[in-house]
Symmetry: C2
């Protein structure tokens, strides 16, 4: 343990008590119980609720002190006015970690603040690692642990994230999953009465199951510690942050949301630069970067091979690469000759490799492989320019003039075709360990690619942006070898 | 007619001849015929092909000169070596407009260049309006006209676009449709041997069915004329452009693609500024802006009302608004009191209107309406923070532990719910004629919204960006009243 707190009982508890557990529909205590059970948690689960004998068919205890075994982790989902008493009982019971989901503390009025101070005092005295209050719970898919207050079961993976907004965090996890990125650990940190942003970041720094760390940050409570933690983190793993409350309008909103002093964009940007944090302007950037780092290898250099079935897309990709400091490298005669063996005679004979609207879409991935196997590029952007097939089929159906059976057959052929291409593309990613980004607007093709660890975007600019961030980080790692 | 060319026979032909028409599968001549027929074109269609008596059950002529009637528009889809002869026959026949889809002219070698020059000469002598060669065709949904060479049936709408890359144009049209934007006219301009970018832009300027004009541009052949045309255009309609070939890598790629001299980003940006063109860095921006202008009214001022069920999203939206020059306006006491009538007591009591994870999602749209009806905002960003419902349901199904029937019921309830919210939101857009942008990551909810002319984005930053472009354009129109 390198943190001031021992977070092992929080992320790897042997057992869990849910205080306020219920199976009454539409109750938060039910959502938490559902998540704990259906995530497949391997340890014992103790519902605590004086009103029930059983919850989800599990023996239910009136109080936590009634549980015969030692308890590692307690999740508290009861009205605010009872939390303090129950938390004292947790201390009495010797609970090691506690997640207080209930709101109505530091964020709301004098009385709430006092109660929160009391929680902090008790936690310190008893060495309890507390998340919240006013949070949405935590996840550790590596241990099948999920205490979220809403019905979410994040996909498993190697991304760990702490979010100072539960709702932002939940949406980000879902969006990452849609892009092929899975979660190892997630924390909605809430009021951060005891455990703070940097405690979780420190834990992720040394966590074996975490490859990439992401954070949604509104306010930093201890700038010096954050800087120290971030520096240690980025030496080991990419750390991708969206800092909200950068503007005065945003800071006002943040103050009203989490009473945090957001601080100016300038200060945060200076800290980010010093500690090599990868900063984002939007949630889309955070998702793009996080997933790109999560699924792929880092590029070994700035040369990008652009493969395209249409000249216009090649020009767009070339612009994006140059604007993001990448290089659209020249191809050697031998590489050009090799591609010419299969490409139509009027192909571009250079990079971008423009196959000029060829109907042999397999040639796209094949040409990409020619570049990789001859070390003519450090990464690829392959543009499949397929629009959205469903949109197309729907527009044909709408005419009422085209045979539905024919359309169905056409769709099935295309799906099989996309499926084969996705497999081919995943193979070259696996074989050459170089970043390969695909461009397509078809949601099904996207899913076929991302589920095989091939990132896919709707525009080459987003791929170029990700590549530039990965390249910068690679250079930083090379300079700062541990 | 204000252009040097009469484009009416091109966009509103009384009849069409397709030279190279066929119903043999996987032939471009078949694709064109299919598009012409299934788009529902009301005039007569004359297939021309010496090898068939009938194509798609229509009487087929060996040569265009064999057609008894006058012909307005001929589409040429035959091998390059025969095009010149056939084009001469078109001139002989008195055809008024011609689309040459065939490639192998100015873009490919000396012989091609010579043939193209000959086409230009004949077109000038006979006053034929020619699109292409080496293009993908045109569309005019207002006249159910579609001569595209690939099987695409663009959605009807008020966006007109010219694209110097056919494949980019096709994908953009599909993407616009997915976002709720439909096409009035589309031109893939190809080699621009006769009709050029600015001819089409000039036509769109005065076209009654066009509300918004978009363009993908690689090269501008006549800078002075382009500037003049663009200035007249932007006085009447927003003109949204993605200029490819901005960098040296991009310019090289563009030269190889359309032999166009792309020119530097600086020159284009200067021209764009002078003529108030709305420029884009990516296809995503072009789609976002074009659809936002297409479906909505312009904002009357910079005050944005932000409605959110989660504080973090409110902070992100407030940052984005301020960074794009918009104002997160203060709310009056009477507006706050009005919202307090229905909102939970702990709502933010200000703008962003943070309803704090309320389960009454209807309150989001209702609160938005309170702002609009009290003139407390010139536009709204409503964040529904709904992740992707299908992703959530899928993750629950994957556990194998949750009753599928229960999940199905839950999904149906949610869909009904989203449906109702989409209807409510569309109503306030219709009633107050102010821009309302929604934020969601659920594809089905997105479709429910955009199909009702409510733009929806995955991140508030994109909404703020669109709003800022609309506001700038509004200010420009106010200063430059016609």
């Amino acid at each position: 343990m390198r943190s001031d707190h021992d977070l092992k009982p929080l992320f790897e508890p042997r057992n869990i008590a849910v205080i306020g557990a219920t199976d009454v529909p539409n109750k938060i205590g039910n959502n938490v119980m559902g998540n704990v059970i259906f995530s497949g948690f391997k340890g014992e689960i103790f519902p605590v609720n004086p009103n029930f004998q059983k919850v989800y068919e599990l023996k239910t205890y009136p109080k936590i002190t009634d549980i015969p075994q030692e308890v590692d982790l307690a999740v508290i989902v009861i009205p605010a006015e009872h939390v303090l008493q129950v938390f004292k009982e947790c201390a009495e019971k010797g609970v090691k970690a506690c997640i207080i989901i209930t709101a109505g503390f530091g964020e709301s009025g004098e009385e709430g603040k006092k109660m929160q101070e009391e929680i902090v005092r008790i936690a310190r005295e008893n060495g309890i690692a507390v998340v919240g209050p006013n949070c949405m719970g935590i996840v550790n898919t590596s241990r099948d642990l999920n205490t979220l207050m809403t019905r979410n079961l994040p996909a498993k993976g190697n991304i760990s994230m702490v979010s100072q907004s539960g709702t932002v965090g939940l949406v980000l996890m879902g969006a990452m999953a849609d892009m092929g990125g899975g979660i190892s650990k997630f924390v909605s940190s809430g009021n951060e009465a005891v455990l703070k942003l940097d405690d979780f970041l420190e834990y992720f720094t040394y966590d074996q199951d975490t490859k990439v760390v992401a954070a949604f940050i509104e306010g930093i409570r201890n700038g010096e510690k954050f800087l120290r933690v971030a520096k240690e983190l980025t030496k080991r793993k990419p750390f991708i942050v969206i800092k909200a409350g950068r503007t005065s309008a945003g800071a006002n909103a943040a103050h009203s949301h989490t009473s945090s002093i957001a601080g100016s964009a300038q200060i945060f940007n200076a800290v980010a630069k010093q500690s090599n944090i990868i900063t984002c302007e939007s949630t889309e950037e955070l998702i793009d970067y996080t997933v790109a780092f999560s699924v792929g290898a880092l590029p070994q250099g700035r040369r990008v091979g652009i493969i395209t079935p249409g000249g216009g897309w090649g020009v767009l990709a070339a612009d994006a690469c140059e604007e993001y400091g990448l290089e659209v490298s020249k191809l050697s005669k031998s590489v050009i000759d090799k591609i010419s063996e299969k490409a139509p005679p009027y192909w571009s004979h250079g990079n971008p490799v423009d196959l000029v609207a060829t109907y042999n879409i397999e040639l796209l991935t094949w040409s990409g492989e020619v570049l990789l196997e001859n070390d003519a590029a450090d990464s690829l952007i392959i543009q499949f320019f397929a629009g959205n097939l469903s949109t197309m089929i729907k527009s044909w159906k709408n005419t009422g003039k085209v045979n539905n059976q024919m359309l169905e057959a056409m769709m099935q052929r295309w799906k099989q075709f996309m499926h084969n291409i996705a497999i081919d593309t995943a193979k070259i990613v696996e074989k050459y360990k170089k970043p390969v980004f695909c461009i397509t607007r078809d949601p099904e093709f996207t899913e076929m690619l991302v589920s095989r660890n091939v990132p896919a975007y709707v525009d080459p600019r987003r791929a170029a942006k990700c590549l530039s961030k990965m390249l910068e980080y690679k250079k930083y790692l090379d300079k700062n070898k541990l």
